[in-house]
């Protein structure tokens, strides 16, 4: 940057046209193989078998976009020598910026909480926004729950949705067979999910990171298939409907005498129930957050993090790593169980369709994108993911495609998530954040 002759001599300053042309041709060929095969031709059912539908133009456009995109990359990104591509910030500004972000970060949590508390009463809040917020908060809660397992204890769980399903079906079935109320079922659903966490966890927890991941995935699928096929008990693919709605400490949200609005002398509004639901999930999510933060400062929480850092060292210090893992699994599962029974009562209807692997992947993506172990990160990631999903609501069929692409891009862009520094659980004089490079990401290095 200082001396033009100097920078000219750097490799890659000038585009080597032969090289670029060759690269573009290869790109075009690869794009043709990938898109030419599957976009240009499509099999459609016809009389007496299949018929081929041809869409050369569409395939051509897609290939052209790929090639031009690559050309643009060559022209504007890769033509610059490494190191000069980004504008270098002086160190003083960088550290100043870090301090500012740290301050903002400190205020972020309480600000978000204040906002969340007044949100239902803001003038622009309508039914749609409230429903969306309830959805986001459900994922925040699930993300915080999974964060215990993945972020703190460093155990990759790809079947987390199973506990969510257990919570939902526990409530629905307990209400259906025994007529239990939501408030009675909520703790039961949590306990059942935690219990299943222990049952499933016990045999598999000595497995290494990615083996554990695959086995948890298998368990998630087993639970779903059982729910799908145990027709007499779970209703199979038809699911369970008519799940009772929660009451406000015994007051139902219904029109007329004895209802919530009647008791408090309000005019009846269907919004009351939605607002109540909103505060219910907010309270549940905050409970998750509070308990997790509390646990982090207790020996069990430190044991989780120590487990993530080095399992062998843990054993050499007398930690029973099996029970440390089991508690992480059970407590993480318990919160998913709470969230599941909330989901059941909000929807009034559940079926195995709501508990597919994609759901586990989504929750995991929220945790990883947020920065493993970071509570604030989960909130940001939930808003971004679920909000992003809503933005692409129109393009229903492209939604999952974009979700998958986002997962890949974000992972490559920030393998350690948005907020990757770690706040110590105890300090002597000064609380210093630990930089991401130091923090291990769980089993298997």
């Amino acid at each position: 940057m200082t001396d033009s002759t100097n920078s000219d001599s750097r490799p890659g300053r000038h585009l080597d046209f032969g090289k670029v042309a060759k690269d573009l041709i290869v790109t075009a060929l690869i794009a043709t193989a990938i898109f030419g095969s599957t976009i240009a031709f499509r099999t459609v059912s016809a009389a007496g078998g299949l018929r081929l539908e041809v869409r050369y133009d569409l395939a051509f456009y897609v290939i052209a976009v790929v090639v031009i995109g690559r050309l643009l990359l060559w022209l504007f990104i890769w033509s610059k020598p490494p190191g000069t591509s980004a504008v270098e910030m002086p160190v003083s500004i960088k550290s100043g910026l870090a301090k500012v972000t740290a301050k903002v970060g400190k205020g972020f949590g309480p600000t978000m909480l204040m906002f969340a508390l007044v949100f239902p009463f803001l003038p622009f809040t309508d039914r749609y926004l409230l429903d969306l917020s309830i959805l986001i908060l459900t994922y925040v809660m699930l993300g915080w729950g999974l964060n215990i397992v993945v972020g703190l204890a460093g155990l990759l769980d790809l079947g987390y949705v199973a506990f969510y399903a257990i919570g939902a079906y526990s409530y629905a079935l307990l209400a259906q067979y025994f007529g239990f109320s939501f408030w009675m079922c909520l703790p039961l659903a949590g306990i059942l999910a935690a219990f299943w966490g222990i049952i499933l966890g016990f045999p598999v927890l000595r497995l290494r990171g990615d083996y554990l991941a695959i086995v948890t995935l298998a368990f998630g699928e087993i639970i779903r298939i059982v729910l799908l096929n145990w027709y007499q008990f779970t209703g199979g693919p038809d699911g369970l409907s008519g799940i009772p709605r929660p009451s406000f400490f015994g007051l139902p949200f219904s029109r007329g005498e004895g209802g919530f609005s009647d008791f408090f002398g309000f005019d009846y509004s269907s919004m009351h129930r939605i607002i109540f639901m909103y505060f219910l999930i907010l309270a549940l999510a905050l409970l998750t957050n509070f308990v997790t933060n509390r646990l982090r400062r207790l020996p069990i929480g430190r044991a989780w993090e120590a487990l993530r850092e080095d399992e062998i060292a843990c054993r050499s210090l007398g930690l029973n790593t099996t029970s440390v893992k089991l508690t992480a699994f059970a407590i993480g599962g318990m919160f998913a169980g709470f969230a599941g029974s909330f989901f059941a009562t909000r929807q009034g209807f559940i079926s195995p369709e709501s508990f597919t692997f994609i759901e586990s992947a989504l929750i995991l993506a929220i945790v990883v994108l947020g920065g493993m172990g970071s509570q604030v990160g989960v909130v940001i990631a939930s808003i971004a993911m679920i909000g992003g999903f809503e933005v692409f609501r129109e393009a229903e069929q492209f939604r999952m495609l974009i979700f998958g692409l986002a997962m890949v891009v974000i992972m490559i862009w920030r393998p350690r998530g948005l907020i990757s520094t770690r706040i110590p659980s105890i300090f002597l004089k000064e609380k210093k954040a630990v930089s991401a490079d130091m923090v291990a990401q769980g089993e298997g290095h």
Binding site: I30, A33, I34, S37, T38, I39, F41, R42, T43, V44, S45, G49, L50, R51, L52, L156, P203, V204, R206, L207, G209, D210, Y211, A213, I214, V215, L217, A218, F219, E221, I222, I225, V226, L228, N229, I312, F357, I358, A361, L364, A365, V368, Q397, F398, L401, G404, L405, A406, M407, V408, M411, I412, P415, R416, A440, Q441, G442, E443, G444, H445
Partner: protein, 311 residues
């Protein structure tokens, strides 16, 4: 007995398909220690490509035998080439940038790629199942039993013979590649110690790319076989087949080619017998439970080496 024999034949056929997919998992896991979660979806994509080529060629049951064989070779080669490009590209775009990052990062991008491929095929090829009329008919009756319930014939179809023969041929070819060629040597070297291999002048990136290409090519073979054997495919077949093939790879001993094939056969047989004697709804539960049981009690697999924990 006759019923058992029939299920045995069916199980071996299914197991061959799983084995072919499992090789892709086992080779990739052996060399870079990651579960290529998207591998099952490469298998799915390749079966769609095979379907497109078959439809384009207008291959039907009435096509003559010689022509059918020629056409199928063409279909197989096209599917293998295109699947290889898919495999190569996913490695290049989604896994290579994360090499040296923490171990779970590529697993998460692999899940992302799996979602992308499923939805891409759903968008471009439609969400409905694609039926294919049988192309290879007939078969041989091995034995028949006549009793009070009527007649029961144990049959092996030409299709099943084709699948088993092709699997054996390809297994032999790939085993030879791994055992005899310099590429195979480079792969085994990278498996042992990647850093050392690169110090000795092995192009590690290229070796890993070639591993993905080989895995994808074999998945394409499995894709075509699956299409011909079952006659229906949809965009979701990769997920379940992938998990089962991964189970097969672990069962056989991860990193071992014969192990993957053996594991595939065992999983195929378990699934077939489970469906035949217990319940067809729970056949996936059987396969998934098998995965858990194998990982817990036999993590080194049937033909793998036990791992010693380094302290």
């Amino acid at each position: 007995m006759e019923y058992f024999l029939q299920q045995l034949i069916n199980g071996i056929t299914l197991g061959s398909i799983y084995g072919l997919i499992a090789i892709g998992y086992t080779m990739v896991y052996g060399i870079i220690g990651m579960i290529n979660f998207a591998h099952g979806d490469i298998f799915m994509v390749s079966s769609f490509i095979a379907l497109i080529v078959i439809t384009a060629l207008g291959l039907t049951i009435s096509t003559g035998l010689g022509l059918t064989i020629l056409a199928l070779i063409l279909v197989l080669v096209t599917a293998m080439v295109i699947a290889s490009v898919y495999g190569w590209t996913t490695e290049r775009l989604a896994y290579r940038p994360l090499r040296g990052s923490f171990r779970l990062a590529p697993l998460i991008t692999a899940i992302g790629i799996s979602i992308v491929l499923q939805n891409y095929i759903q968008i471009t090829q439609g969400a409905r199942v694609k039926p294919l009329q049988p192309i290879i008919a007939d078969g041989y009756t091995i034995m028949t039993r006549v009793d009070a319930n009527g007649e029961f014939a144990v049959q092996i179809s030409n299709m099943q013979i084709l699948i088993i023969v092709v699997t054996i041929i390809l297994m032999t070819i790939f085993s030879l590649i791994i055992a005899k060629t310099s590429l195979g040597r480079a792969q085994r070297a990278c498996e042992q110690d990647r850093k050392m291999a690169s110090l000795l002048g092995i192009n590690v990136d290229r070796t890993i790319s070639m591993t993905f290409v080989m895995g994808a090519a074999l998945a394409a073979v499995a894709g075509l076989m699956f299409l011909l054997y079952y006659g229906v495919i949809d965009f979701f077949i990769g997920f379940v087949a992938g998990v089962k093939a991964f189970t097969a790879a672990v069962l056989g001993g991860i990193g071992s080619l014969p192990g993957a094939m053996l594991g595939g056969l065992v999983i195929g047989l378990i699934e077939t017998f489970w469906s035949a004697y217990f319940s067809i709804e729970y056949k996936d539960v059987a396969a998934f439970s098998m995965l858990a049981i194998v990982l817990i009690f036999l993590p080194q697999g049937l033909l793998g080496k036990p791992e010693v924990e380094k302290v």
